[in-house]
């Protein structure tokens, strides 16, 4: 009796859920939380849909997880910010080709009281050294995200090894940028974040940018089409169409036009 009921009702009920899934012209985009939380996609994607009729579905996770999901073929397009990992992804045959899309920069944020005494005229290495010597609390993403990879590179560049103080003043949160910012704000800690996320972040309390502008804080975003030979089920035609738009004139103009509080968050730099 139950089996018969299941047979009759389930397909109808599930079909109502599934119906939207299998339509053509849908791009599954694995991307970073910074691009989503900044509101960029809410501004960009409706324009793309209006221009082409294609829809884009964004899954926003850390760069490391986005790349892993794309390796599992759970993406048509990958848009992240960790150039070395992106190039490795293409070289291993998971992605077909990588293009620059846009950039912004990372900033070091900390409490207004600035217990580590980081000066705005310091280089990143000097700033991190001051932080390290003062044993001031620092919240690290600790999640293999693009921001985490950048942070590790910056410590390495300053010849410092903060991991040995993990759990003491070096706090590895293992969560997303937003959660890490919330933790930093609550525990009077410094942290590294991309500027777009920081500008859009609503819980700044008594935290501000303490260091910015160093060349090594450059933050490049790249886009990759997932290789259809490795992943036969990807919608490669839609993926190519989307990347062409994003790195072409209309997409680049839309990125440049996106502002929050009169500040431009991302700067287009795709090769023409």
């Amino acid at each position: 009796m139950y089996c018969e009921f299941l047979r009759r009702v389930l397909p109808i009920a599930l079909a109502s859920c599934v119906s939207a899934a299998a339509q053509a012209g849908t791009v599954l985009l694995q991307s970073t939380t910074s691009t989503q939380n900044s509101g960029l996609y809410d501004a960009l994607l409706p324009q793309y849909t209006a221009a082409t009729g294609d829809r884009v579905r964004v899954v926003a996770v850390g760069t490391g997880q986005a790349i892993r999901n794309a390796r599992n073929c759970d993406a048509d397009v990958l848009l992240v910010h960790a150039k070395a990992a992106e190039e490795a992804f293409v070289e291993s045959g998971f992605g077909r080709s990588r293009s620059d899309v846009m950039y912004n920069d990372f900033v070091l944020i900390g409490p207004v009281a600035n217990p580590a005494g980081i000066g705005s005229d310091m280089s990143v290495s000097e700033g991190l050294r001051a932080l390290y010597d003062a044993r001031a609390p620092f919240a690290s993403r600790g999640d293999d995200s693009g921001t985490h990879k950048k942070e590790i590179a910056l410590w390495l560049g300053a010849s410092l090894a903060p991991e040995q103080h993990s759990g003491d003043w070096y706090l590895e949160t293992g969560t997303g940028m937003g959660a890490t910012l919330n933790i930093a704000v609550e525990s009077n800690a410094y942290t590294l974040t991309d500027r777009a996320t920081w500008i859009q972040f609503g819980n700044k309390q008594d935290h501000e940018i303490v260091l910015e502008g160093d060349e090594s804080l450059f933050n490049q975003y790249g886009v990759i089409d997932v290789d259809p030979t490795h992943c036969p089920n990807v919608d490669h035609a839609s993926a190519t169409r989307f990347i062409k738009w994003l790195t072409g004139e209309p997409g680049q103009a839309a990125i440049a036009a996106y502002r929050v509080d009169n500040q431009q968050l991302f700067f287009p730099n795709a090769a023409p």
Binding site: L14, D74, N182, F201
Partner: protein, 235 residues
């Protein structure tokens, strides 16, 4: 904490404005969770009854397994469902990852043991009361099941509500297999998590209040139906 008063204002304005984005999210939350509870009930209620009155080898072990599964961590269920539904997974060809269907599947797995475990308890109590009569009538196990399910129906509603509460409240599983995709798989809890990560704490808390209000409305509806039905039964 000023956040709480802000959150109340946020919740009120969200509700009063009938924000279409909110309606979309609430409606998907309800559709996914109700469907998951329905499917979980179709499996869980007979399983609970079977565990209560059936006599078969391994029954005790199965009961322990079901009771353990009542506390399945949503994030683990989400992870296993992700690995199965991923295009690289065993069920990859179904192309279900990041769809509402995947969310229904994950929630069904979470909710089914709760319904089975709680209903088993109700059936056990009822069965010890009814056993002699049922045997006197010489009913088959299947007929006994029917009688028990009907007579335990009010207690079973509680089991279903517990399952529904679990489904609407969890975030770990639906986030993993749904992906929190705007206009497609974004539900109440994943929105709350996202707004929290954006530092929009008042909005997040406001959404949390809306979620509680909806849960309250569902419970009030069920309760009033039950009270009316019970009254009718005694007239």
């Amino acid at each position: 904490m000023h956040s709480f008063s802000e959150a109340f204002a946020e919740a009120a304005s969200l509700l009063l404005s009938f924000d279409p984005a909110l309606l979309e999210i609430v409606s998907l939350s309800l559709r996914v969770s109700l469907l998951a509870v329905l499917i979980a009930a179709l499996i869980g209620l007979p399983l609970g009854a079977l565990l209560a009155i059936g006599r078969f080898p391994g029954r005790n072990l199965l009961t322990i397994v079901v009771n353990t599964a009542m506390g399945l961590p949503p994030v683990v269920v989400g992870l296993v469902a992700y690995l199965l539904l991923s295009r690289a997974g065993a069920l990859g060809p179904l192309e279900l990852l990041y769809t509402p269907t995947a969310m229904v599947i994950a929630q069904t797995v979470l909710v089914m043991p709760i319904i089975a475990g709680l209903s088993r308890q109700s059936f056990v109590e009822l069965h010890s009361e009814y056993r002699e009569q049922l045997q006197l009538f010489g009913l088959s196990t299947r007929a006994q099941l029917k009688v028990l399910i009907w007579d335990a129906r009010y207690a079973l509603v509680t089991a279903l509500l517990a399952g529904f509460g679990r489904a609407t409240a969890e975030v770990g599983a639906v986030l993993m297999v749904g992906g929190n995709i705007n206009h497609y798989t974004r539900v109440m809890t994943t929105t709350i998590a996202m707004e929290t990560s954006k530092g929009n704490l008042a909005v997040a808390l406001g959404l949390g209040m809306v979620l509680l209000l909806i849960a309250f409305a569902v419970n009030a509806l069920v309760h009033s139906v039950r009270v009316r039905a019970e009254r009718a039964a005694y007239v």
